[in-house]
Amino acid sequence: MIRPHRSHPLWFAFILHRLSGLGLALFLPAHFYLLSLALTAPESLDGYLALAENPLVKVAEFGLVFLLAVHFFGGLRLMAMEWLPWSGRQKSLAAGAVAAAFLVSGTFFLQAV
């Protein structure tokens, strides 16, 4: 259960940023390895790319794009908060970051299917 002192929007924004950052960090090595196949073993890369037609993989890709987008927009919010004149609308901005992430990853998903 989420402890009472944590259940508020900006704490959720924090945990979302941390989990998405860790998720991306875990995904990137696999991503780079697959890309490196283009140079070292093009045939097996083609095999992996065929996998991308699998609906499950498409949903997973949507998840990855969402993680990247939510971390990107959330990170921009934090950087704006630290570098630009203060805005009192941090909760709205955090919600906006999540909405923008859904827009980007949702568009990506619709393009893919």
């Binding site: 402890r3 009472p4 002192h5 944590r6 508020h8 900006l10 704490w11 924090f14 941390r18 934090l78 908060m81 630290e82 570098w83 203060w86 941090q90």
Partner: protein, 242 residues
């Protein structure tokens, strides 16, 4: 509203720095009853050995903060009716501070960090100089004014997970104090303040979770003050390099 027969079910944490547990008490409900009233009633009527701390009872002294239903609050100005979960309320010592006994925490680490964060006045004049006029509408003064109503209650410190994770982290209140002095035209040593807040336990540890700002009973905004310090330390780095 609440008749005298009504009883609250109160769980109070009893123990010391070696450990402890919640104990249950029945307390008669009253109108306009604060959480501090509930705790005092138990100490005066059920168990005189219950330890807790308060002084002013009007939200000035900052000594009565406790965890109420898992969130930090000033108990003297928290109406129990507003936080009741059915008839239940739990009261525990503040998070992130060592417990002395029962509900009384040792606030030394909290105050030590005020000093560590550069939170002492660095005078710019002597007693022989004329008093420097300050324009209350200047940007720096308005910024300093946003933090001066802090009552050192440690509610923000108890709310902050970064304090929990890093014992050296100066915490929201001390950093906000540093930001106040940094913006004070009568403070002569801004660089000392920036150095004090940019070390290992400094402002850059803050993850902007905003629990400090959410729970501060005086509606201050330490998260904003810390963002200001982050910006000031970073821009001073570029300036010094020139």
């Amino acid at each position: 509203m609440s008749s005298d027969k009504e009883e609250l079910e109160v769980s109070i944490w009893r123990g010391d720095d070696a450990g402890g547990a919640f104990e249950d008490y029945k307390v008669p409900a009253q109108d306009s009853q604060t959480v501090l009233d509930v705790v005092s009633w138990v100490q005066q009527n059920t168990d005189p050995t219950l330890s807790y701390r308060y002084a002013c009872r009007v939200g000035m002294c900052g000594s009565c903060a406790m965890m109420v239903n898992g969130v930090p609050r000033w108990t003297c100005r928290t109406h129990v009716k507003k936080v009741l979960d059915g008839k239940k309320v739990t009261v525990a010592p503040l998070r992130n501070l060592p417990v002395i006994k029962d509900l009384a925490t040792d606030m030394d680490p909290f105050f030590d960090k005020w000093v560590k964060a550069g939170g002492v006045h660095h005078p710019s004049k002597t007693r022989d100089d004329p008093i420097e006029p300050i324009n209350p509408k200047s940007i720096a003064r308005s910024e300093a004014d946003t933090g001066i109503e802090c009552i050192n209650c440690s509610v923000c410190y108890a709310a902050c997970d970064t304090v929990t994770g890093n014992a050296d982290y100066l915490g929201p209140a001390a950093l906000q104090r540093a930001w106040t002095l940094y913006n004070d035209a009568k403070d002569a040593d801004q660089q000392t303040i920036l150095d004090a807040v940019s070390g290992n336990g400094g402002c850059h540890n803050c993850h902007s979770q905003g629990s400090c700002t959410l729970f501060c009973p005086n509606e201050l905004n330490p998260m904003k003050a810390i963002a200001g310090l982050k910006r000031a330390t970073a821009t001073s780095l570029f300036k010094r390099k020139k």
